[in-house]
């Protein structure tokens, strides 16, 4: 059923669980696995600070990706990792369409109401706009 699974990874505990769940599914279903992380710049993007954040995000995610690739390899699953820039929900939905994912797997962070009001919920936005099924891992 699911041949292409996309994991949205933001280095949180919940998204690490989401990766493990997706890896397990990919192994059982012989599906391809993609891991996407989104570097969200501060708004409005300020000079010098934005380039610094972008560099740090790439380095930070690359460390986690290394571990994920090792996990996937030992499970016999092919995994592709990438970092994109922008608003998390938009980039996840767009990349899901681009890589023709059948399923998006993401963690639920359960942020405060104030934070949700100010920044919006990424999982709600992805659920609203995703071109495929979405699994929220708690």
């Amino acid at each position: 059923m699911f041949k292409s699974i996309l994991v949205a990874y933001d280095a949180s505990k919940a998204s690490a669980h989401a990766f493990l769940a997706a890896l397990d599914m990919a192994k059982q279903l012989h599906a391809n696995l993609s891991v996407l992380s989104v570097a969200q710049l501060p708004e409005p993007a300020a000079m010098v600070e934005s380039s610094a954040m972008l560099e740090l995000a790439k380095e930070h995610y690359e460390k986690d990706f290394k571990r994920m690739r090792a996990d996937a390899q030992s499970a016999g699953v092919t995994v592709e990792t990438r970092v994109m820039v922008g608003h998390a929900a938009e980039q996840i939905v767009h990349y899901a369409a681009q890589c023709k994912a059948d399923l998006i797997v993401m963690g639920h962070r359960g942020g405060s109401r104030v934070r949700e009001w100010l920044l919006g919920s990424v999982s709600k936005r992805v659920l609203s706009y995703a071109p495929c099924s979405v699994l929220i891992v708690r």
Partner: protein, 404 residues
């Protein structure tokens, strides 16, 4: 020294609060530091007197000024010389239009609608003419346009726009005496020299724990800054130009850039942005809110007139063009630098400074809010599938890192 240490801890405490706010709200640290500066001055002014924060202490002015200089240098060093060489014609045309439209537009609003003096009006035009390279770059990355010819040309154009701002700021109020001539000649001699000398010097003596590179660069920035100030110009002008001249050398050295960023964000720029906020008079803003609205309308309107037609000429569809135009209306850092230059040189009053900084902040925040509310995700999501027509050639966003 007790007084100095106490004051330093107060300022760094404020910087820490601003940084935490920027992390929680995901806003730019510069923006949060300015707002914290405004609030701190308001509260401390009411509780302990207007001098409590000590924004005019000479050591705070020095750290703040150094912050502006080093930040401007790093901004100039982000230029990609290859892109600029390939696209300099388009970039110059677009950059000059994007600079001159708001420069004349906002100066006209200040002069004829608000009846500011001619010098104040020109300063207003400069402060509101800027375009944030960072904001445009972030948008380009989101839309996947950073690798296209159009994206590269627009990014290079943003550097030209800011160069226009810095050059006008540095020269329009200069007295054009022998000193001004000496400054220009000094630049013409020093820039080619450092372009030749710097890579060799770094190769011979660099990469040691004594941080020779940082000392060399600070010497250049302070030396040329002193020459600029002696000529009644502005120290950020040579700093930005030195950054651009050394972009292919310093910009490529990530370790050096990272060390300079630590110095800049960890110590220097908090003093600069908090001070910029502390000098804002909230009562002056409250007394004449229409001034702020007129300036904001002037900035966004003139950017629209200048930039939107260009995006259409280059093949942007309507919403994409509007989105880019709105985000090109932001210019937090150079806008603040210009306004503070005006206040320091008594070209504008504190009330005018307050209105300019408020406009600069609003022009950074409002377009982002509007763009997010009305153009995302409805604008991005449906269109970023493969159903583009040939005229809408924006490709999928490029990842910044991929591995298989």
């Amino acid at each position: 020294m007790t007084h100095v240490w106490a004051q330093a801890s107060l300022w760094l405490g404020l910087a820490l609060v601003a940084t935490l706010l920027s992390i929680w709200l995901r806003i730019a640290t510069a923006l949060s530091e300015i707002v914290v500066g405004i609030v701190a001055q308001l509260v401390l002014g009411a509780v302990a007197g207007t001098m409590a924060l000590g924004a005019d202490e000479s050591w705070i002015k020095f750290l703040a000024g150094t912050g502006a200089i080093v930040l401007t240098f790093l901004a100039g060093a982000e230029l990609d010389p290859k892109v600029f060489r390939a696209k300099w014609k388009e970039a110059t045309a677009v950059g000059l239009i994007a600079f001159f439209a708001p420069f004349f537009g906002c100066a006209a609003v200040a002069r004829y609608a608000l009846h500011w003096s001619s010098q104040s009006s020109w300063l207003c035009g400069i402060a509101l003419s800027t375009t944030s390279v960072a904001v445009v770059y972030a948008v380009m990355l989101e839309l996947g346009l950073n690798k296209t010819d159009f994206g590269k040309a627009i990014l290079a154009a943003c550097f030209i726009n800011d160069l226009g701002t810095v050059i006008f700021l540095g020269l329009i109020f200069a007295p054009f005496t022998v000193r001004t001539l000496s400054f220009v000649v000094g630049c013409l001699v020093v820039f080619p020299l450092i372009f030749w000398l710097t890579p060799r010097f770094f190769r011979w003596y660099g990469n040691r724990p004594s941080e020779l590179e940082a000392k060399y660069l600070l010497l250049l920035l302070f030396g040329m800054g002193a020459l600029a100030a002696w000529a009644d110009s502005e120290a950020v002008l040579p700093a930005y130009l030195i950054g651009m001249v050394l972009a292919g050398i310093v910009g490529k050295d990530h370790v050096l850039v990272r060390r300079l960023r630590t110095l800049t964000f960890g110590l220097l720029t908090p003093f600069y942005f908090i001070r910029a906020g502390a000098l804002v008079s909230v009562p002056a803003l409250m007394a004449a809110p229409l001034v702020f609205i007129a300036l904001l309308a002037g900035k966004m309107g003139s950017k629209y007139v200048g930039v939107y037609p260009i995006t259409r000429i280059f093949g942007y569809v309507k919403q994409e063009g509007l989105y880019t135009t709105m985000l090109m209306s932001t210019g937090l850092t150079f806008g603040t630098i210009s306004a503070l230059f005006g206040l320091n040189h008594k070209l504008i009053t504190q009330a005018q400074y307050s209105h300019l900084v408020a406009t600069v902040i609003a022009s950074a925040v409002i377009p982002t809010i509007i763009a997010n509310a009305f153009f995302l995700p409805r604008y991005l999501l449906p269109r970023r599938t493969d159903d583009r027509t040939p005229g809408e050639a924006a490709p999928a966003p490029e990842p910044v890192a991929v591995a298989k």
